[in-house]
């Protein structure tokens, strides 16, 4: 059993790198777009709010796998011939962006309107109010769920194995195909995912404790 685990390490390592690469791209992109979308949902004009709301509700209302299949098989039809990596990443970016939009919206809305008023009363402009009054307070509500969504993104990468992207999950499958010993590899794979996501979860709890003294 140990022998099987050891000899599979190089393939698994390559798969892990792909997993991390995808996760990083997804997390960074969805953070940038999602925060903007979330802010627009709270402060923007009605039409934009509705469009973003539609996007967010639809994407979050279907399974991730369906989204991945739809994007992977559907994109070539529109004429865009992207490789499977780009398609998979796009699908996960869409999913993660919808999540980040919701998290941002929730954290911004949780700030009492009195804070905006106090900011107005001392003469701050709208951008100043967002930066100095609202965002610092919203952070506390934003970070824990956002770190959760990062863990979700990492777990989501496993589904990309179903469209041929050689991430950690597919690497595990491939090694099993060669060695015919499923259990050791599944356990090893589980441990690797566990270490990554559990660390994120601990970070999230640390942050929640740190901000706990804020109190409304």
């Amino acid at each position: 059993m140990l022998q099987a685990m050891l000899s599979s390490l190089p393939s698994l390592w390559r798969g892990l790198l792909v997993t991390i690469e995808v996760a990083v791209i997804v997390v960074v992109t969805s953070l940038l777009i999602g925060v903007v979308f979330g802010a627009v949902m709270v402060y923007g004009p009605l039409l934009l709010r509705l469009i973003i709301r539609l996007f967010s509700d639809v994407v979050r209302g279907i399974p991730v796998l369906v989204l991945i299949f739809f994007v992977y098989y559907g994109l070539p039809v529109t004429g865009l011939n992207v490789n499977n990596f780009a398609a998979g990443v796009t699908a996960l970016v869409l999913f993660s962006t919808a999540q980040v939009t919701e998290i941002t919206r929730g954290s911004l809305q949780s700030i009492h309107h009195g804070q905006m008023e106090a900011g107005k009363a001392i003469g701050l402009t709208f951008p100043q109010r967002l930066v100095y009054v609202v965002f610092p307070q919203a952070m506390r509500r934003f970070l824990p769920p956002w770190i959760n969504s990062v863990a979700d993104a990492v777990k989501g990468t496993a589904l990309l194995s179903l469209v041929g992207i050689v991430d950690l999950m597919l690497a595990i499958q491939q090694v099993i195909g060669r060695t015919y010993e499923p259990m050791p590899l599944y356990i090893l794979g589980a441990l690797i995912y566990f270490v990554i996501n559990y660390s994120l979860s601990l970070l999230s709890r640390r942050l929640e404790a740190r901000y706990a003294h804020f109190r409304e």
Binding site: V64, L65, F69, M183, A190, F194, S201
Partner: protein, 219 residues
């Protein structure tokens, strides 16, 4: 130029409507078993000593931090190689999703138990109820009302997670969609139909459970 042709979708629609039904069945079965697991472990956690708590935590943290897909493979392909058990894909998936659900539900039930106002328990003690009676007549009923919103969200989540069963060729909705995709190449049409199927079902479930919440609302 791609020409939309929904005709083929309607021809094979039985794959989708029976698939949706199976997805719901999988979800219901998993949450039912999951509730049993989750509740039992939450009470055990509340009641037990350090070792129990650690064991429960290990279970919860392990399941929650590992992708569902990996768990599905592990149970279906892995376990039969080390233990002398035989089961089909559907049974395997329900077992996996139940264990998965259980891990999330433990946390929800624990939070619910903690949220019960001290005063209610003290009132129970004051009229002479035993710990077991307090559990059955006060704590559990109150807890259920409190966790109902979280339960609804979890149920819808699990319903969406049933799509992973498609990798084991369990003929639920996503498998049906992929079947139609591979046999007719009508990718856009099939997912245009399947997307609202998931969405509407999800909203209906939430709506129905919201009605339930109203009936049992915590004052």
């Amino acid at each position: 130029m791609y020409h939309l042709n929904f005709g083929l979708i309607w021809r094979y629609f039985d794959k989708l409507d029976w698939g949706l039904l199976l997805s719901l069945e999988l979800a219901v079965a998993s949450i039912a078993i999951g509730v049993v697991i989750g509740l039992a472990l939450a009470l055990l956690y509340d009641w037990g000593g350090r070792t129990t708590r650690t064991l429960v935590s290990i279970y919860v943290e392990f399941i929650r931090n590992v992708p569902l897909l990996l768990l599905v493979y592990l149970v279906f392909y892995g376990i039969p190689t080390v233990v002398n058990l035989q089961y089909d894909a559907t049974t395997s998936f329900i077992a996996t999703l139940s264990i998965y659900a259980g891990a999330y539900l433990v946390e929800i039930f624990r939070a619910g138990l903690v949220a019960i106002p001290r005063g209610l328990i003290d009132a129970g003690k004051a009229i002479g109820l035993t710990p077991w009676q307090r559990l059955i007549y006060i704590r559990l009923p109150t807890m259920f009302r409190v966790v109902l919103p979280s339960l609804s969200n979890t149920f819808v989540s699990l319903f969406k997670d049933t799509s992973v069963a498609s990798v084991l060729a369990v003929p639920e909705l996503t498998y049906g969609a992929q079947w139609i995709n591979f046999n007719t190449f009508r990718i856009v049409e099939v997912y245009t139909v399947v997307t609202p199927m998931y969405l509407v079902t999800g909203y209906l479930i939430l709506g129905a459970l919201r009605q339930l919440e109203k009936r049992f609302a915590v004052r």
